[in-house]
């Protein structure tokens, strides 16, 4: 650790939190007071006395050869300390989450609009901006490879990555593919078994995570030739694993500490400014801070994969699904990022939570000169859910059935099989979730006699006083996996320490889990209380001094790192009880720690933990590994690929101004099985937040890319929902324990983001009678003015 002062480091130190609430309660967030006082140090708040500001020069072209880079004028700018290009990188030149295909700084060519080419360190952001503008890059601009047709014909249109450019790539512009066949597959014979067939082509636009805290961090060089990096990320250890080789230093000399994270939603799973800040700090010997402005943020992280999808479903006259066929083409953009996992999810989850005897699926991710796409909340499953749920509504119309009843008729439940051949071996209350949202009371009907314009589509913009407003209702349900899949062991580590401080037993929890706002540290304190019978818990800053906690993604942190805290705390409890056995010769086998005492179920309280611990501390570290999974077979998609499944159902009520194509969501109801709500307040918050991002995708959020160029890299033109766009979101929580999971819990964060979008689109469809095969739905779609 650096010995120099860093401003506002209260959350970079231990945070003490006291409460009687263990799991199942909703104690207050340990970081809540710091956050409401403005004292919580986010990565962009860090300040060091002699720090410099880092900034990148980014390509204005999506595809070009770099003929030359002239930094001479930039270097001469007063206040500039370093200007670095690809040639200055001391170690590995490439990095990546799954495939090391991304250059730390572009060399010879740029592959997307916004790719970093050079970096500058200067004494003030404005000095850095002026210096960046003085770097002269000579480009040979090439026609970008951006459409599916162009990507799939590299011999005509070229390669995003030449076949020889990196080792794991040999499929033209296909980054990853996954096929799946189950039952008889989809053949003419199978089609003939269906009475009704519905088909459709669907499209999903490129969504952005739009976390509010911009990419940022502070790199501080240390005297041992290493580096301390304070950063907002989702996974400290995988950051370190990617950064250290580029810096040419061993991993142990690169120490990462989690600074305050202003939201993540997948967008911080890949590196952004980390390598650049470290390279500049390494070169200048000074601390370097980088903070992206909002426009740079749109270029600085990966987005949700846009998708083009073909779906076909066949059913019997009474509504039983006979077969389902799909092809999903995901645009992965210039670099692989998480594309392989996104494809795996799309293929394995892409037919939804339904029992379908015969299935075929073909999912691919393309390399293109569009912006790189990777992790965003619900990845792979979000895109597909819009496809299969739209199909379910179409099928209901074709069969003249109620859309909820059709879904319930085909809903999977415990004991059924996924198209991958994996049996669902824990509760899967799909039909019940649908019933619950259907049974919830509806909001009051549209009353056009007593209107507040703020409650209508257009709201303050005063576009309607009731004219053209039609109400619609839609339903949907979705499925998501929890945890990393396909044979990956994304274990988590936790260290728990128990000691007496100020006459009271205090548990300290130390993990590398990225608290990105989800409330993981609240839950860790609750678990420690439940397992150790204490009230006082100290949350140690997340850093790389402890083992990996895996990523804060895939709805996995409470399951995985929460599980690790549970096991470490159980081990500490056992160690304390052992100590008691040795000291007092207890023979009971019904001992546990409750209310600060060692308690025997049969004999009552035996001794206070304070007395038993004395001056000793018990400090143990445990890893939590989920049950193993296996990769999907490349051709058939078969395999026990996922750790756990999670389901959410929604009902959307919308008012649409059908003349202007403006939408106001009136209510968005969610029902979700969470296994066990460790913190009900946080669980509801996750579901409401997840629904809201789904609402954004349904009606407004899209990064508009034309010929590889991003057209709306700002919050002026990339719109996310305001409080006037988001309706009340009643949440109904089911708690059916999963016997395989710690406390029976089920990952929560993503399922609502998967499922809610189609319900909103279905409601708009009901109000307007328009097919709506593309999201986000724009006013142009609703008014025939595209």
């Amino acid at each position: 650790m650096s010995t120099r002062t860093i401003q506002g480091q209260k959350n970079l130190q231990d945070i003490r939190t006291g409460s009687p609430d263990g799991i199942g309660g909703s104690p207050l967030r340990p970081d809540g007071t710091l956050k409401v006082k403005g004292e919580f140090a986010y990565s962009s708040d860090l300040w060091h006395e002699d720090m410099l500001w880092g900034m990148a020069l980014r390509s204005p072209h999506p595809r070009a050869n770099i003929l030359s880079v002239d930094i001479s004028e930039a270097v001469k700018t007063p206040g500039v300390y370093a200007v670095l290009t690809h040639d200055d990188i001391p170690g590995a030149k490439f990095y990546g989450l799954e495939i090391q295909d991304q250059p730390a700084l572009a060399k010879d060519k740029v592959r997307y609009h916004g790719e970093a080419i050079a970096i500058v360190a200067a004494d003030h952001p404005e000095t850095a901006r002026r210096a960046v503008k003085k770097i002269k890059v000579e480009y040979e601009v090439l026609t970008p490879i951006v459409t599916e047709e162009q990507c799939l014909n590299p011999e005509v249109y070229g390669y995003v990555h030449e076949p020889h450019e990196f080792k794991s790539h040999g499929h033209g512009n296909i980054c990853h593919s996954q096929k799946l066949v189950s039952g008889l597959g989809v053949t003419d014979e199978v089609r003939a078994m269906a009475d009704v067939i519905v088909k459709g082509e669907y499209e999903v636009g490129m969504q952005d995570q739009a976390f509010l805290g911009p990419e940022s961090g502070l790199a501080v060089p240390s005297e041992d030739g290493g580096m301390d990096l304070y950063v907002a990320t989702q996974w400290l250890h995988v950051d370190r694993q990617q950064i250290a080789p580029v810096l040419g230093i061993p991993e142990e000399k690169l120490r990462l500490t989690l600074a305050g994270v202003g939201g993540a939603f997948g967008g911080r799973e890949d590196l952004s400014m980390q390598i650049h800040a470290c390279l500049l700090a390494q070169r200048t010997g000074k601390p370097v801070k980088i903070v992206y402005a909002r426009d740079e943020s749109f270029f600085g992280h990966v987005h949700r994969h846009p998708a083009k999808m073909y779906y076909e479903h066949g059913a019997t006259r009474d509504g039983k699904l006979v077969y389902a066929d799909a092809r999903i083409v995901l645009d992965g953009g210039a670099y692989a990022s998480a594309s392989p996992a996104v494809v795996g999810n799309a293929a394995s989850l892409g037919h939804g939570p339904y029992v379908i005897p015969n299935v075929r699926m073909d999912a691919i991710a393309l390399y293109s000169n569009n912006p790189s796409c990777g992790a965003m909340r619900g990845f792979g499953a979000v895109q597909a859910c819009f496809g299969y749920e739209t199909q379910m509504d179409k099928l209901a119309v074709a069969l003249d059935m109620d859309p909820v009843e059709l879904r319930q008729l085909n809903a999977m439940s415990e004991g059924d099989y996924m198209p991958t051949g994996q049996m669902i071996d824990s509760p899967a209350p799909v039909a019940e979730l649908l019933q619950r949202v259907k049974d919830m009371p509806l909001p009051p009907p549209l009353d056009l006699t007593n209107l507040d314009v703020r409650t209508l589509p257009g709201a303050l913009s005063n576009t309607t006083h009731g004219e053209g407003v039609v109400r619609g209702i839609g339903y949907s349900v979705g499925i998501k996996n929890v945890g990393f899949s396909e044979g990956f062991d994304d274990y988590s580590t936790a260290r728990v320490r128990l000691e007496v401080i100020g006459g009271e037993p205090v548990a300290m929890v130390h993990t590398a889990m990225a608290e990105v706002g989800q409330g993981g540290i609240t839950v860790h304190a609750q678990i420690a209380r439940t397992e150790l019978g204490v009230e006082q818990v100290t949350i140690h800053p997340a850093n790389t001094e402890v083992g990996s906690a895996g990523s804060t993604s895939a709805s996995r942190q409470t399951y995985m790192t929460g599980g690790a805290v549970k096991y470490a705390a159980e081990a500490v409890a056992q160690a304390l009880i052992e100590k008691g056995r040795k000291r007092y010769g207890w023979t009971h086998n019904d001992l546990s720690l409750i209310g600060g005492k060692v308690v025997s179920e049969s004999a009552g309280a035996l001794v206070s933990m304070v007395d038993l611990l004395g001056d000793d501390a018990i400090d143990l570290t445990r890893e939590h590994h989920h049950r193993p999974t296996v990769p999907f077979d490349k051709e058939t998609g078969q395999g026990f690929g996922h750790v756990q499944y999670t389901f959410c159902a929604n009902r959307a009520v919308v008012d649409v101004d059908v003349e202007l194509g403006l939408v106001k969501v009136v209510e968005l109801t969610a029902a979700q099985d969470v296994g066990k709500a460790l913190n009900p307040l946080s669980v509801v918050g996750q579901i409401q937040g997840g629904c809201t991002q789904a609402l954004g995708l349904a009606v407004m959020e899209e990064i508009i890319v034309k010929d590889g160029k991003v057209r709306n890299a700002s919050f002026t033109d990339y719109l996310i929902p305001t409080i006037l766009d988001v309706p009340p979101i009643p949440v109904d929580i089911l708690e059916l324990p999963d016997p395989n999971a710690p406390y029976g819990l089920r990952g929560v964060g993503e399922a609502p983001t998967v499922s809610a979008t189609p319900s909103i689109v279905a409601a708009i469809r009901q109000a307007t009678g328009i097919a709506l095969n593309r999201i986000p739905v724009r006013p142009e779609h609703l008014t025939g003015t595209l």
Partner: protein
């Protein structure tokens, strides 16, 4: 870069004369975005916050003399009766925080076709004037119809600053509608302002974000004025009829020359202008009819 902080209007004009490329800043809601995103690096920034008269308004002889920096929030709270159209437009500007800072002067100075105040000012009548001044030549009044000359260009000289806008007190109902793809905080995809001026038997229109400049729908105004006069509707307050309303919408639509951009297509802009024109005409006429009937 210089940062100039004149304490009086005369000092401000002197500063603008000395630094003609200085960028005036008041609410900062446009200027600072350009500074933060490195769009613009003026030689100097000319802060107008200390100049009292820019933040004042008064009504003299049936005309509101509105200081260029009176924030939109105050227009909404203090001027919704004399300037109902502008107050409605002000209510759609950015966010509450933006409305606490931004004023009409910024919209006029920037002259973006998307500025929310423009359609309301145009609709308020041909006798709306922008009062500008320079140290060298003193004050002059620019009629609103002569003010907008191109994309983000107005008819001001480099040494001039906007002091206030002169807007007649409304003598009839006024409306403003704006399209955005979310329910708050949007830049106009397109916007429409409409006003009835029963005293002189005219109507006012203003189209925003659907042409290189804000503009009025002249043919639509003339058509409607003709109908109102011919049929004696100003006096009777009788129904306009669906055909008139429809035709008015079509003429407003025809007056626009929008483009496709990330915020919307040209077709959608035309379509929605027609809808907004029909609706705002209907709302204002309904209000006007009620007034006539209750007066009778």
């Amino acid at each position: 870069m210089e940062f100039l902080r004149p304490a009086t209007w005369d000092e401000a004009l002197a500063a603008k004369a000395e630094f003609p490329t200085a960028l005036p800043i008041s609410g900062g809601t446009d200027v600072m975005v350009e500074m933060n995103f490195d769009v613009h690096r003026p030689s100097a920034i000319l802060d107008l916050n200390r100049i009292t008269e820019l933040r004042q308004w008064e009504i003299t002889d049936g005309v509101v003399r509105l200081g260029a920096s009176v924030p939109y929030a105050r227009i909404i709270n203090e001027l919704s009766e004399p300037l109902p159209g502008l107050a409605l437009a002000a209510h759609t500007v950015g966010s509450p925080q933006i409305r606490n800072r931004g004023g009409v002067g910024g919209n006029l100075g920037g002259a973006s076709p998307a500025g929310d105040a423009h359609p309301a000012l145009l609709a308020a009548g041909r006798d709306v004037f922008v009062e500008v001044a320079s140290a060298a030549r003193g004050t002059r009044m620019i009629a609103i119809d002569d003010f907008y000359v191109g994309v983000k260009r107005n008819s001001m000289e480099k040494d001039e600053l906007i002091l206030r806008v002169h807007i007649p007190v409304a003598d009839g109902p006024q409306q403003f509608s704006k399209i955005g793809t979310r329910n708050a905080m949007v830049i106009a995809v397109c916007a429409f302002g409409f006003a009835l001026h029963p005293k002189n038997g005219t109507v006012g229109t203003g189209i925003g974000s659907a042409a290189p400049t804000p503009r009025r729908a002249v043919a639509a105004e003339e058509f409607l004025q003709g109908v109102l006069a011919e049929r004696g509707l100003w006096e009777s307050g009788d129904l306009l009829g669906a055909e008139v309303i429809q035709q008015f919408g079509e003429l407003v639509k025809a007056a626009a020359s929008p483009i496709d951009d990330v915020r919307g297509t040209a077709d959608y802009r035309r379509h929605s202008l027609a809808v907004m024109a029909r609706r705002t005409l209907t709302w204002t006429w309904n209000d006007y009819s009620k007034q006539i009937r209750s007066a009778a």
